[in-house]
């Protein structure tokens, strides 16, 4: 921090001579070492990273491991409720949780665009560090590359994650059975609209913050209490509708869902109506669906509602006998229609 007592986001060493990312920062030489030591190490702060080895070595308990990876290319980099950094941590943590695993270690690969302000990188890295602390994981290894100006949209991040599968958990679409209850952990659409709200040409205000958050705590609670969780899926791009269709196809089952049981908060509704978006297809980042036997619905919901991240958990439908892999929605009017996969990205419309 600077002597003047003001809060400086840049690192404590004077950086007057270099305020933006240059190609050399990815070159493996002195400049890159400087970047690692000044920006990444202090933020992520753990013994593995401090070794500056090619990889991290750690012991594991007996059992099964889960490995997952995801890349993050969100624009803009910062939005209400999060940024590309926190997204990159929570997204991978949640994917591990969806496999019934406790998240342990993450890697972080950065592709930076030449000209990116170092202050921006520092902000993102600080956010990742905080997210990692909140999720109880360590970022133990990483990589940095720099691409020419104009070839990178500022910053791309890839995170891979390793987790330990929790005792006795077998979570997969193939375990889904007709009659299973479909539980939704919370209201829809916050993340997608939070990102849109700061995009040029669509700006709006209102209490819409991304729902990006780690959900492994509630998953662990469900499994530790012996709830027979058949399948889990976090809702990301494509929203609830896409997640349900993917599982229906993988499990070769049908599903029926009640529109009026699906929670959507008021500002998200207003924004979706105005922009012509369907909340069932809007991206989320801290929401998941769980498939449990019907008999466990109440216990599962009670457990879920004990956690902040799933306070509004609700049963929204059930798995049916039909093997057409179709998801049928009962509308608020009581009529029925298919909830199909979208062919591309949902766009705001005027018609």
């Amino acid at each position: 921090m600077s002597d003047q007592g003001s809060f400086e986001l840049s690192c404590p060493l004077p950086t007057a001579e270099r305020q933006t990312i240059a190609l050399a920062h990815g070159g493996g030489g002195r400049l890159m070492q400087e970047l690692i030591r000044r920006t990444f190490l202090p933020a992520f702060d753990n013994a593995w990273l401090a070794q500056l080895h090619d990889g991290a070595v750690f012991p594991v308990d007996a059992g099964k491991l889960t490995l997952t990876t995801d890349s993050y290319v969100v624009q803009p980099l910062f939005f209400p409720g999060g940024d590309i950094g926190s997204l990159a941590v929570y997204g991978t943590v949640n994917d591990l949780a969806m496999c019934g695993a406790r998240p342990l270690y993450l890697s972080a690969g950065f592709i930076l665009e030449e000209g990116l302000p170092i202050e921006t990188l520092t902000r993102v890295v600080a956010s990742m560090a905080e997210a990692a602390r909140a999720a109880g994981v360590a970022i133990v290894t990483g990589d940095t590359k720099v691409v020419d100006r104009g070839k990178g949209d500022g910053m791309f991040i890839n995170t891979a994650g390793v987790g330990l599968v929790l005792q006795g958990a077998t979570v997969a679409p193939q375990r889904v059975r007709p009659g299973d209850a479909i539980l939704l952990s919370g209201d829809l659409g916050r993340h997608g609209l939070a990102v849109l709200s700061v995009r040029e040409g669509l700006a709006f205000t209102g209490d819409i913050r991304s729902d990006s958050a780690p959900v492994h705590g509630v998953i662990e609670d469900l499994l530790a209490n012996g709830i027979e969780v058949h399948c889990l899926r976090d809702l990301t791009r494509g929203g609830l509708a896409s997640a349900l269709n993917e599982i229906a196809a993988a499990a070769r089952v049908g599903m029926t869902v009640e529109e009026r049981a699906i929670p959507v908060c008021d500002p998200v509704r207003g924004a979706c109506e105005l922009l012509g978006l369907d909340p069932l297809y809007v991206a989320n980042e801290g929401r998941f669906v769980a498939f449990v036997p019907e008999s466990e619905t109440c216990s599962a919901l009670t457990l879920m509602r004990r956690h902040d991240v799933s306070r509004q958990a609700a049963v929204i439908g059930r798995v049916t006998d039909a093997d057409e892999s179709a998801v049928v929605l009962t509308t608020v009017l009581g009529t029925r229609r298919f909830l199909d996969l979208l062919s591309g990205e949902q766009l705001p419309r005027i018609c």
Binding site: G201, R337, L347
Partner: protein
């Protein structure tokens, strides 16, 4: 959500549906003009609530679907020039021209931006004085006042880097074209509630008289559409042919005078080719000579003259018949087979409210069979 949820009330919808069922004694064919109404009917499954004797056909009220191929080719050409920032509504992004869509142009490096309002494009013109901002002015009369205002503002702020590629179309000429077509089976119309919010509905009265068809100006929520159908069915059963207004909370007979005055100041009627239908006289809008500086087709006419693009429609696409209510999307041989939202032959399959897209999305189909 106020003034929305009340019109999605289940028991009110059941009441309306029962009343319609009570009144209908013989088959009737009615057309909802507006794509937004088509979208609502399919999204809320309203046809499930209607008696079988009532046939709903979907009209050409999808400005996205009827924008001629030639205009889309011009849009794609403009979007491909480095100095241009091309602004469009999301609806137009994937509509194919004779070879490419704006989405393809964007993927190839064109600066194509989805905007919600013409005012967003105006803001871009101010913040990017070194670029040419071109707006795809698509839409019916509902949208024209917004573009008229954007042009007036551009003039007031002395912006020289803002222009419109005008594609506006007008509803009454399209309805007349449908009514006067030899094979026309449509016996009643649900007119477009937001178009009439702007224009009023006096201009529909001569149509009702000349062709002896009832016309009910209708809103877009489920209860609006059901009430509109109820009013239409009542007229049909009673042998009346008048213009009535269901959408009273937004539509007045004289319309929005501030909006129509603005439109008259900036635009004038022009001939327009409707994709899949052909040219309909005085069915489009163009900028008046006083605003020629904001007309992208004039401003860039030399460059556009060199545009590639045959302006030809795919011969297997039957969108024209669909748009006139003469063919249901599911009756088209290409539907779901050669023509899908990922690889559309024409516009109605890719427009968010095109009849073909609505059927495809909400009804689904497996192995080519439609449920």
């Amino acid at each position: 959500m106020k003034y929305v949820d009340e019109y999605r009330d289940r028991s009110a919808a059941e009441v309306a549906a029962n009343e319609i069922r009570r009144l209908v004694t013989r088959p009737w064919i009615i057309m909802e003009v507006c794509g937004g109404q088509t979208h609502a009917i399919v999204r809320f499954g309203l046809d499930e609530l209607l008696p079988e004797k009532l046939t709903l056909v979907h009209g050409p009220g999808c400005p996205v679907c009827v924008t001629p191929v030639g205009l889309i080719d011009q849009a794609v050409a403009l979007a491909s020039w480095p100095q241009v920032i091309f602004c469009t509504f999301g609806d137009m992004l994937r509509v194919p021209g004779s070879r490419r869509s704006l989405f393809d142009a964007k993927a190839a490096g064109g600066d194509v931006r989805v905007v919600y309002s013409p005012l967003d494009a105006l803001a871009l013109a101010e913040s990017h004085p070194d670029r040419e901002i071109v707006c795809f002015a698509v839409g019916f009369e509902t949208t024209a006042p917004a573009y008229a205002m954007a042009v007036k503002e551009a003039a007031r702020r002395r912006l020289s880097n803002f222009s419109l590629l005008v594609a506006h179309v007008l509803v009454p000429p399209a309805m007349e074209a449908i009514l006067s077509a030899p094979g026309n089976r449509v016996q009643g119309f649900l007119a477009a509630g937001h178009v009439c919010t702007v224009m009023g509905y006096a201009e529909y009265e001569p149509l009702a008289v000349r062709y002896r068809v009832p016309i009910v100006v209708t809103g877009f929520e489920p209860l609006d559409i059901l009430e509109g159908i109820l009013m239409l069915v009542r007229q049909l059963e009673e042998g009346r042919a008048e213009v009535e207004n269901q959408y009273v909370r937004s539509v007045r007979r004289q319309g929005n005078e501030a909006a129509t005055a603005l439109m008259a100041e900036v635009f004038e009627p022009s001939p327009r080719a409707w994709r899949g239908i052909g040219e309909i006289p005085a069915s489009g809008l163009r900028l008046k000579p006083a605003y020629a500086a904001y007309d992208a087709a004039l401003k860039f006419r030399r460059e556009l003259a060199q545009t590639a693009g045959s302006a030809e429609e795919d011969p297997e696409c039957r969108s024209g018949l669909v748009l006139q209510g003469l063919l249901k999307p599911t009756e088209c041989p290409a539907f779901g087979v050669k023509c899908t939202p990922e690889r559309p032959l024409g516009a109605p399959m890719v427009s968010s409210e095109g009849a073909c897209a609505a059927y495809y999305r909400y009804r689904s189909h497996v192995n080519g069979e439609v449920r």
